[in-house]
């Protein structure tokens, strides 16, 4: 490896390092750190990677289209949260669950692991963290734990969640079918499911609580991982995340009734609103999202209007070519954000009809939504935009190439880290698979490794990247009043993300020796 390559690798890594240092060690908000990262990426791209004004213009437009897809969800999720919270329903849900099970580990597993995975199965794009974090705060967990737990808990289900969008992307970019890719992907993600469950508990109560919860994690994890594997390998991979978490929910409720988890007497606190009414907004959300995603004619009807732009081939001054193609399309009425918006409006009307709102509630809901949405959106847009600069100037590719050159024969060990890097940068498993899918496939073929195994490690790393992606952490923080103080949450999830990814890397290496 030449000194020039090392210098280029360092330059390519500088924007990521800037964001990490500023957020973790300087406690900068996501928006400020994202803007600083954008400047560093702009300077590095211009000086070392042949960026020119037209390349920057196209990359920023692609960045905005990606951002709008995420912001649509975030703003609608925030609106739904404030529509629910303004009635006092979040507090009522907390009281209701406490009466059902006072065991904190069960509360964490049901909300942070299973329910978050269920929401990932039906929606994704940060919705699990945005919805679950305030629920956990209402149960008495600290805001940092409340964001970190669903961030960790939902990540294993990202690849087969959102109707398998990330897996679909992996198949599209590599040209392989599900029969080849699904078994290893489902196996590694299944193992990740157990690890995520353990880490969810550990982040709150350490090893003592993990020992207390091992039976629950074993039963629920087996139910979820097994269901996901069966669905994925039998061709129903679109329902992999959804079906697994649904089975997980049923097993979780059964486990909560075990004597081992009923030793603390449930709280006797009561609230004015019943649990069913308090949860009604989420029932509405489940019905609307399920209909919008699973019923073909509804999906087709809502998907008629799409905003998309065509981009020409873009060549950097260094000769790096980004192929011509369409940017990320925005499905105006069938998007996950639109479904959340419909749920918010219907929930508001239901609560209004029941008389749960105080006068001027609409104004308060909108004000609170804007106050929490703006800083979050600034962070997401700046980070996605600098990731697009890096993508269009070969910087992300150089990072991955450097990692694979250094690790050579133990490449399987590092494969999930590349997926993790892509998700960290773009906030999405899908984008990670787009950026690195072909690179991983080609590296595996050159090294004589199983492409199915390496691509499974790629998508597993991409899924796990969701727990450390600033774009997603920002979403969760905005719903629990931690806007501008995302550093402590990132610090918490970062360690778990690195440990689980390291473990998956080691397993990939072992499996590669066995094949």
């Amino acid at each position: 490896m030449t000194a020039l390559f090392v210098a280029k690798w360092m330059a390519a890594f500088s924007p990521i390092l800037t964001v990490l240092v500023l957020m973790i060690f300087k406690n900068w908000s996501g928006s400020r750190a994202g803007a600083a990262g954008w400047f560093v990426a702009l300077i590095a791209a211009s000086l070392f990677f042949g960026a020119h004004p037209k390349l920057l213009a196209y990359s920023q437009m692609k960045g905005i289209l990606l951002s709008l897809n995420v912001l649509y969800i975030i703003w609608a999720a925030l609106l739904l949260y404030h529509v629910v919270n303004e009635t006092g329903a979040i507090k009522a849900i907390g009281i209701g669950i406490e009466r059902f099970s006072a065991d904190k580990s069960i509360q964490i597993l049901i909300f942070g692991w299973i329910f978050a995975s269920f929401l990932q199965g039906v929606a994704g794009y940060g919705v699990p963290i945005a919805v679950v974090a305030p629920l956990l705060v209402s149960l008495g967990f600290s805001p940092v734990v409340a964001v970190a737990v669903p961030a960790i808990g939902h990540s294993w289900s990202v690849t087969f969640g959102s109707m398998g969008a990330s897996f679909q992307t992996l198949m599209a970019v590599t040209g392989y079918g599900y029969a080849y890719l699904a078994p290893w992907s489902a196996a590694l993600l299944g193992i990740a499911a157990f690890l995520c469950g353990i880490c969810c508990i550990h982040v709150y109560g350490g090893w003592k609580m993990v020992r207390h919860s091992y039976l629950a994690i074993l039963i629920i994890g087996t139910a979820m991982a097994g269901t996901q594997y069966i669905l994925a390998v039998s061709g129903m991979w679109t329902l992999g995340g959804f079906g697994a978490s649904l089975v997980g929910l049923l097993s979780g409720l059964a486990v909560a009734k075990l004597k081992r988890y009923n030793q603390t007497s449930p709280s006797q606190a009561t609230s004015q609103m019943g649990l069913a009414w308090a949860l009604s907004a989420y029932f509405i959300l489940i019905v609307i999202v399920s209909a919008g995603v699973m019923i073909p004619w509804v999906k087709e009807f809502l998907g008629q209007v799409k905003l998309s732009f065509s981009f020409p081939q873009i060549v950097s001054l260094n000769g790096w070519v980004v192929a011509a193609g369409k940017g990320k399309a925005i499905n105006i009425f069938g998007h996950g954000g639109a479904l959340l918006l419909y749920s918010s409006i219907i929930s508001f009307l239901v609560y209004q009809a029941r008389g749960y709102y105080r006068p001027k509630a609409v104004k308060t809901i909108l004000q609170k939504t804007i106050q929490s949405g703006v800083p979050t959106s600034l962070g997401i847009v700046s980070m996605v935009c600098f990731a697009m600069i890096m993508d269009h100037c070969q910087m992300i590719y150089i990072l991955a190439e450097g990692i694979s050159r250094v690790f050579g024969s133990v490449y399987p060990l590092i494969a999930p880290w590349i997926g993790l890097l892509g998700a960290f940068m773009t906030g999405s498993n899908t984008n990670s698979n787009v950026v690195f899918g072909v690179l991983q496939q080609e590296t595996a073929q050159l090294a004589g490794l199983s492409a199915a195994l390496i691509l499974a490690a790629q998508t597993t790393g991409g899924a796990l990247g969701s727990m450390i992606a600033p774009a997603k952490i920002l979403v969760g923080c905005s719903t629990v009043g931690l806007s501008g103080r995302e550093g402590p949450v990132l610090k918490a999830t970062l360690w778990y993300g690195l440990i689980i990814t390291g473990f998956i890397g080691m397993l990939t290496l072992v499996f590669s020796f066995m094949m």
């Binding site: 954008w38 004004p53 037209k54 920057l56 213009a57 196209y58 920023q60 951002s67 804007i370 703006v374």
Partner: protein, 57 residues
């Protein structure tokens, strides 16, 4: 000045977000029309906007 930023924080950040979302459309238009002036002008605006976000975001 700090008082001003504090008082109108939400409004200023909202404006920065709107600019951040709008400017790339003008950048795209400039690139498509091969207008280097328009691209450079809006890149300059985007930098100024990012600078504001970095300082006050």
């Amino acid at each position: 000045m700090n008082e001003f930023f504090k008082k109108y924080s939400v409004q200023l950040k909202s404006m920065a977000l709107i600019l951040m979302l709008a400017i790339p459309f003008f950048l795209f238009q400039g690139a498509v029309q091969d207008s280097l002036f328009q691209v450079n002008l809006f890149l300059g605006l985007m930098m100024a906007n990012m600078l504001f976000v970095m300082a006050k975001g």
